[in-house]
């Protein structure tokens, strides 16, 4: 085992579709993510980002390959993996009838956070995410931006070492997206290992320490932005992405 918080080796996911037959949505993916690092998964729609992250969060079972989260293998110890991660994606919604405070309390308890420290943790997150104004309003009454903040806060309810965010800024306005990126940056500074998927080039450029370019289910390159520039001779991430994507299809 390496010291990386997340280590993925040969992860593969195959779907079966009546019209398309066998579809390799994720094909032999190898990446790592260390503590205090943001790894960006950059790819177009349907590239395999969400499937990869859904496997990491144990929603989907890999067809092949292995992945370890904090030393726990996905299929051998899925429960330990789930306790080590905070997972957010567009498909993970909040309970509409409870308040943000109750939401944070619920996710802390259900994720086995020490009971005597739950309230303290909830208050800390309310402060940190600026939720105090609407902490006791029902989630169903909140705006999209507020809900997004509560969603990110709830992934942190049990203070997990690994955070998995699947396109968290989708559907947010510019200001809310900026605020969210700042929060994610702070979480990196707190020492969290963050895997962050996006198809927005500028977001990846600003936020990610390393970027893994994923296309048709395969990782085409994984390096720092400067490293990718050096390999391709291109400056902008968009150009770099197109370079690798065209190269793989050639």
């Amino acid at each position: 085992m390496s010291a990386a918080s997340v280590r993925i080796e040969g992860l593969t996911k195959v779907f079966y579709d009546d019209s398309r037959g066998e579809v390799r949505a994720v094909d032999d993916v190898h990446v790592e993510c260390a503590s205090g690092e943001i790894l960006g998964l950059l790819g177009a729609n349907g590239a395999g980002k969400t499937t990869t992250l859904r496997m990491l969060s144990t929603v989907l079972t890999p067809t092949g390959g292995c992945a370890w989260v904090m030393g726990h293998e996905l299929r051998e110890a899925p429960q330990d993996v789930r306790l080590s991660i905070g997972f957010y994606s567009a498909s993970t919604a909040l309970y509409p009838k409870i308040t943000p405070r109750e939401t944070l309390r619920f996710f802390a308890r259900v994720n086995r956070y020490p009971p005597d420290r739950v309230e303290e943790r909830v208050e800390l997150l309310i402060d940190r995410f600026g939720l105090s104004e609407y902490a006791d309003s029902r989630v169903e009454k909140l705006s999209s931006g507020m809900k997004q903040k509560v969603s990110i806060a709830r992934t942190l309810a049990h203070d997990p070492p690994v955070l998995i965010f699947d396109e968290p800024t989708v559907a947010l306005d510019v200001l809310n997206a900026l605020e969210l990126r700042e929060i994610i940056g702070q979480l990196r500074d707190d020492g969290k290992a963050i895997i962050f998927s996006t198809h927005v080039m500028s977001e990846a450029e600003q936020l990610c320490d390393r970027i893994a370019i994923i296309h048709n289910g395969r990782i085409l390159a994984c390096d720092t932005l400067d490293g990718l520039r050096g390999v391709t001779g291109k400056h902008y991430l968009e150009e770099i992405f197109v370079h690798f994507a065209r190269d793989s299809e050639a």
Partner: protein, 699 residues
């Protein structure tokens, strides 16, 4: 499983439910108001209908060849004809003239008409109607009155019935007076005094009435109450996206399901309690008068027992609802599945309506039906606590199993995340057969029951040929065709080693005696009614059929086709799911359950286990076929000769056991294992069949 996780999810479910005003209104407030209103309205409607019918004025006509006599007779029957009723509550009748009685009946000008027929007309009518031709012999040339009415019109039916009752009464009075005039020594009324005494207590009578329908009513309320939450809690969460959120937390699948199961169960129970208390209050206040004979007082201890009895019922109903919710991909789909689930749950609760059914029968093993009977027995005051305890445990176990199935659904990414990643389902063929074989046998079992209940022939040979020969042959062939299986592999159509036959010839008679001994043991625990045993013997060994034909139809054919089904298709489908020993037990057990009479299940299951073991050891279906045929033929022959196999001494059974062990040892020595089993028994050299096993893709 952690209590903290279960409590947290349970709290969330209940809090979310209570904050959803529409759900609370629809599942609690509305029924609380509507249920008594419904009862009140139906009782008022019924009362007013009865009053209307009792005091109704009926117009009718008299037609026919002998209408003068009929009018005179009817005049006596309906004395208040057209006049002032002596009793205002009684119906009155008025004769009206008609030229076309049928047309007047059709147009509602009259409610019915009486047709007066002379003896010759009646004889001619009976002679034409083959179904009633027998009545001619008993007919003594008396005048005939035929009341014509329309059964699709209530006023017509009721009026005709009322008149018939009066006609019967006047006929009785006239008959008696004829007898007295003819010199009958006493008045016919005094021929014998008839008295009726009901020795059942009022509590027992009321308990029997309430007990018949209580479980049905309670389950109906549970489904109505728990259904909303159960549908929303999994199918609804899938749609909202909160289920994926929950599944990526540290809560285990079991914690999630148990919390939801307890939530739905408690909601169902609370709603039932609210409804019952609600009805109690309305009945107590006299706001609802259900019927004069329907008054029941339930002691607090009885109410407590009933509550405890209904806890596993609520859990099972909740479990079934959760399964439908878990397997539905959308909320709408869950709603569609709700109705079949409800019908499926309500059917067993009708068990108390079956005549003479008691808990000391196979019904104790049927979840829900057993509690329904237990509740009736408790209310009647005839509780057999041991059987009630078993019934409670069986239903509780079924509820736990339902919870497990629902939890398994949460492991299925196809259901949770809509991912089409089931390779076997995509590829079909043998890989899919292994996954679906048990489903097929469950359906096959149900079809077999329906066929046996509905198709019977007078000749036992035809019955055997259809129910065994055709049905049991069709099932494996259908599976082979549907899943594109290699018929030789799927049905183990391979030659065994020669030495095996010696073991079979020795083992089959020995096993028959051992299994009979086992049947005697089972009979101590689950006694089979003597009458049933005799009927079964008569059904199996009918008179007038040559023995060789009985052997063909009841030994050779079952020996071949039942083996193809169970030790062929079923064993093949399950071979990689269970280790060889468990495989034999499962195949034998399922074989037992296809013998529907409960007293036959244990002994046939033991035979099934032996036959499955033989097939696993020899890799071939043929030794099991011969063993099975010898077993049946010997049992039939000895039965026809009057030999009682169950009358052996312990020495008989011990000797048979030794012979059976020797036979199995011979088979073991000549073993050539079934190919491609899960795990492997030690093989005696390279298997001659294993190379012929077609490789299948991993499932």
């Amino acid at each position: 499983m952690r209590g903290t996780g279960v409590r947290a999810i349970y709290g969330l479910e209940i809090r979310s439910l209570l904050r959803d005003r529409r759900t609370v209104f629809v599942s609690i407030v509305l029924p609380v108001v509507l249920m008594p209103l419904l009862l009140l309205a139906s009782s008022r409607v019924e009362r007013s209908r009865q009053q209307r019918e009792e005091s109704r004025h009926y117009k009718y006509a008299v037609v026919g060849s002998d209408s003068t006599f009929m009018l005179e007779l009817l005049g006596d029957s309906v004395r208040r004809d057209g006049g002032e009723p002596a009793d205002s509550a009684a119906p009155t009748f008025e004769t009206v003239p008609t030229t076309d009685a049928l047309n007047d009946l059709e147009s509602r000008a009259i409610e019915f008409f009486v047709e007066s027929l002379g003896p010759e007309e009646w004889r001619a009518f009976l002679a034409e109607d083959t179904a009633r031709a027998d009545e001619l012999e008993d007919f003594h040339d008396t005048p005939v009155a035929r009341v014509n009415f329309r059964s699709n019109r209530r006023s017509s039916s009721v009026g005709a019935r009322q008149l018939r009752t009066r006609l019967a009464e006047i006929r009785r009075v006239r008959r008696d007076s004829v007898l007295v005039e003819a010199g009958f020594p006493i008045h016919p009324e005094n021929l014998a005094t008839l008295d009726v005494r009901n020795v059942a207590s009022a509590v027992e009578v009321a308990g029997a009435r309430l007990g018949r329908m209580l479980t049905l009513f309670v389950v109906l309320l549970m489904m109505a109450g728990g259904g909303v939450l159960a549908t929303d809690t999994l199918a609804g969460e899938k749609e909202r996206g909160t289920l994926v959120t929950l599944l990526t937390t540290g809560a285990t699948r079991a914690e999630i399901i148990w919390a939801k199961l307890v939530a739905v169960t408690s909601v169902a129970l609370v709603i039932v309690l609210i409804q019952i208390v609600n009805l109690w209050i309305y009945l107590g206040l006299g706001l609802i008068d259900v019927s004069s004979g329907f008054s029941v007082s339930v002691a607090p201890a009885t109410a407590l027992v009933l509550f405890v009895l209904y806890v596993p019922v609520a859990a099972l109903a909740s479990g079934i609802l959760l399964i439908t919710s878990a397997y539905a991909k959308t909320y709408k789909e869950a709603q569609l599945l709700f109705m079949p689930a409800m019908i499926g749950l309500l059917l067993p609760t009708l068990a108390p309506f079956l005549p003479e059914v008691s808990l000391s029968s196979a019904i104790v093993l049927v979840p829900l039906a057993n509690v329904a009977i237990a509740a009736r027995d408790v209310l009647v005051g005839q509780a057999n606590w041991l059987m009630i305890g078993i019934a409670w445990l069986v239903t509780a176990a079924a509820a736990a199993y339902a919870g497990r199935i629902a939890a398994r659904a949460l492991e299925d990414e196809n259901l949770v995340a809509g991912a089409d990643s089931d390779r076997a389902a995509f590829l079909g063929g043998p890989a899919l057969f292994r996954k679906r074989v048990l489903h097929w046998f469950v359906v096959f079992w149900a079809v077999k029951i329906l066929l046996e209940m509905n198709i019977a022939f007078d000749d036992i040979r035809w019955t055997a040929l259809f129910h065994v020969g055709v049905v049991f042959l069709a099932a494996p062939l259908l599976m082979v065709w549907h899943f594109k299986l290699d018929i030789r592999e799927a049905l183990a159509l391979r030659a065994p080693k020669a030495g095996v036959w010696l073991g079979v010839v020795l083992g089959a008679p020995a096993a028959l005696i051992v299994v009979t001994g086992f049947f005697q043991l089972v009979n101590l625990v689950l006694p089979m009614p003597r009458e049933l045993l005799e009927n079964f013997g008569q059904a199996i060994l009918p008179e007038g059929i040559p023995v060789w034909q009985i052997v063909i139809f009841l030994s050779v054919i079952p020996g071949i086709v039942e083996e193809l089904t169970f030790r062929g298709a079923l064993l093949h489908g399950l071979r990689r799911r269970f280790s060889p020993v468990v495989l034999s037990l499962v195949v034998g057990g399922i074989f037992g359950f296809f013998h529907f009479q409960i007293f036959r299940i244990p002994s046939t299951a033991v035979l099934g286990v032996i036959l499955a073991g033989i097939t696993v050891l020899t890799g071939s279906i043929f030794p099991a076929m011969l063993w099975h045929a010898i077993n049946n033929a010997l049992a039939l022959y000895l039965g026809s000769e009057g030999v009682d196999l169950g009358g052996g001494t312990w020495m008989t059974y011990a000797s048979a056991s030794v012979a059976l062990a020797l036979a199995l040892w011979i088979v073991w020595l000549n073993r050539s294992l079934y190919p491609d089993l899960k795990g492997q028994l030690p093989s005696r050299g390279a298997h001659e069949h294993s190379n012929s096993a077609r490789p299948e893709p991993p499932g």
